[in-house]
């Protein structure tokens, strides 16, 4: 205070302005971080835009009536969307039918029944299972699930079929559903379980009528992530579902089929040169766009549901 009054020293109003250089440095640092943040957003926007433009390009090249055809044979100009849509829905449906009960059962066992010692062993094993590369599971679905399981139950099943691929995807997402559901159930406060047991409820009643409903938002999230993963899964379907060059529209899960993802993989890795005058190449982007919107809307729906049903304790 005394210093400001001394003759020769700059007036307080100048001192309080501080150093211009430091202010400039602050701004540069801010700009760098802003740049990093914008870059990731820009990349996303760019991807979506390129998807949209190429999809429009694709739709402009073919007539809309071509989107319903005998099947999905892009090199022959047959772009039957139903084939791929049905392929994705059937395989994901089968996957959820497999992984839902098994995953939930695992979660209930681990969260409500297992001794701590058992849980310490089983939980890491689950996580290892989650780390199995999907290409391995695809091969497993083709060479084991199909002959040993599917074709035994239905001898008429083809060598490649949607059922075996769906079961393979199911195996793939069991750990995901089990793990996320178990976390949700373990987060339910102990006091609620005690309330239930104190009323003379059995373990199964407590699990299903108290813990399960209290964890429903997390369990729903687990299923939505599972479905999302199932729709996005590529390798298992590309290997085990068949239809590598294309597929005829059909609804029988014991016949070969093709999902949206497998169709993209087949096109992008095809030995034929798809790039060129045909509409096959831009159809890749069109499928990508559809896939993007499917998973986006699933995630949004999941988010809304989780928000609406979340319990606070």
């Amino acid at each position: 205070m005394a210093a400001a009054a001394q003759p020769g020293s700059p007036p307080l109003s100048v001192v309080l302005r501080g150093s211009a250089g430091r202010r400039r440095r602050e701004q540069i640092i801010r700009a760098i971080f802003f740049g990093a943040a914008s870059l990731s957003i820009l990349v996303s926007i760019f991807i979506v835009l390129s998807l949209i433009f190429e999809a429009i390009n694709f739709l402009a090249q073919i007539g809309l009536d071509q989107l319903v055809a005998l099947g999905w044979f892009p090199r022959r100009g047959l772009f039957d969307l139903r084939t791929l849509f049905v392929g994705s829905v059937i395989t994901t449906g089968i996957a959820i039918l497999v992984a839902g009960p098994i995953g939930l059962g695992t979660a209930i066992y681990l969260s409500e029944y297992a001794q701590p010692r058992v849980r310490r062993i089983v939980k890491p094993i689950l996580e290892i299972l989650a780390g199995i590369p999907s290409v391995v599971l695809g091969f497993f679905a083709l060479t084991w699930i199909n002959p040993q399981l599917v074709q035994r139950l239905n001898p008429g099943a083809e060598g490649f079929n949607l059922m075996a691929a769906g079961i393979g995807v199911g195996v793939l997402i069991i750990p995901l559903i089990a793990s996320v559901s178990e976390d949700a159930m373990r987060a339910v406060p102990r006091s609620l379980r005690e309330a239930s047991y104190g009323l003379g409820a059995r373990r199964i009643t407590t699990s299903l009528r108290v813990v399960f409903p209290a964890a429903i938002s997390g369990i729903t999230a687990a299923f939505i992530i599972g479905i999302s993963r199932g729709i996005g899964e590529t390798m298992v379907l590309a290997i085990a579902a068949g239809g590598s060059g294309g597929s005829i529209f059909q609804l029988n899960p014991f016949e070969p089929g093709q999902s949206i993802t497998a169709a993209i993989a087949a096109l992008a890795t095809g030995t034929d040169q798809v790039r060129g005058a045909s509409a096959a190449f831009p159809s890749l982007f069109f499928l990508g766009l559809i896939l993007f919107f499917l998973t986006l809307s699933l995630n949004l729906a999941g988010d809304v549901f989780v928000r609406r049903t979340r319990q606070r304790y």
Binding site: S191, E194, G198, L199, G200, R202, R209, A214, Q311
Partner: protein
């Protein structure tokens, strides 16, 4: 230690176990049994006066729950050492004592809630109407149905008020009109008037005191015989605490209540009998003294008890 104390225990006469109680009556616990025949030493029924010291008029009633040399272990650690006391029917028995004296452990041993904690073990006997609750063929689920529990922190289910109360009856497949049962339970818990127009609302939206009364209604709805209360008012404000205590007095007409409390005034105000526990050198809880509440608070036999109830330690 227990022998000199036992003689001043509340039961000078013990009714022989009614054979009907052991078998058939458990289905409708206590409902058809004669209500709390409180017999005084002269045999004449006498209206009860709370808060008046009546050290010599031994009120003799049937003990519903009897602990006989019960010890409780967490792993190899003995948390409770050879506890023996009786809980008379249709009265309120308070368990008091400092932290670590095993009050809650004992309470939770009575309806086998501790079974939920791995590697715990009970020695000695916990008798309910003469039957050892830790007998080989006893199903803890059946025990908890007859011996209900209200917890320290109100823990309503995140369901509607109605569904909270109806949970127990539904689980046990109780016959009869559920609406009536819910209303009756809420009335007995002194909550009906406050919630009758919003039974569909979530139980968790109520105030703390209301939530605790909801939990009491929920416990009552399965028609238990005994209600265990683990510091039921410790999370509540003074007004809600008084409401709970009043409610306890109303409930003791139909139920036998065992309450753990840290609050000395609460034990003095709200209980008929008091068991004072302390933590021993071995860190195990044990019974120091027990008897009618008025005697424990006005004329304790043990110096420790006197020190504790007068607030000199604990």
């Amino acid at each position: 230690m227990t022998t000199p104390l036992e003689e001043n225990m509340i039961h000078s006469t013990v009714a022989p176990p009614d054979p009907a109680v052991e078998g058939a009556a458990v289905a409708a616990p206590g409902r058809d049994a004669p209500i709390a025949v409180k017999i005084h030493s002269d045999g004449a029924p006498k209206p009860e006066v709370k808060g008046t010291p009546t050290p010599q008029t031994d009120v003799a009633t049937v003990p519903v729950v009897r602990l006989r040399g019960m010890s409780f272990y967490y792993g190899s650690f003995r948390a409770v050492r050879e506890v023996t006391f009786d809980v008379p029917k249709n009265e309120i028995t308070a368990l008091i004592g400092p932290s670590g004296s095993g009050k809650s452990t004992i309470l939770r041993a009575i309806n086998r809630m501790n079974d939920l904690i791995p590697s715990t073990r009970v020695e000695g006997e916990v008798l309910y109407n003469g039957e050892d609750l830790y007998g080989d063929r006893v199903d803890p689920v059946e025990v908890r149905r007859r011996i209900g529990m209200v917890f320290q922190k109100p823990n309503p289910f995140p369901k509607s008020i109605f569904d909270n109360v109806a949970f127990g009856p539904r689980v046990h497949g109780l016959k009869g009109n559920l609406n009536d049962l819910v209303e009756q339970s809420l009335r007995r818990a002194a909550l009906w008037d406050e919630v009758k127009d919003k039974l569909k609302q979530s139980g968790t939206a109520l105030s703390g005191g209301q939530q605790q009364r909801l939990c009491i209604a929920r416990a009552i709805a399965v028609e238990p015989d005994v209600i265990l209360m683990d510091e039921p008012a410790s999370a509540l404000d003074p007004r809600a605490t008084l409401q709970i205590e009043e409610l306890m007095h109303e409930l003791e007409e139909r139920y036998t209540i065992i309450v753990v409390t840290h609050n000395m005034q609460q034990a003095a105000r709200a209980s008929d009998n008091t068991v004072f526990l302390n933590m021993g050198e071995d860190r195990a809880g044990y019974v120091v003294e027990m008897g009618p509440t008025t005697q424990i608070f006005t004329n304790p036999k043990n110096q420790l008890t006197e020190d504790y109830v007068s607030g000199r330690f604990g």
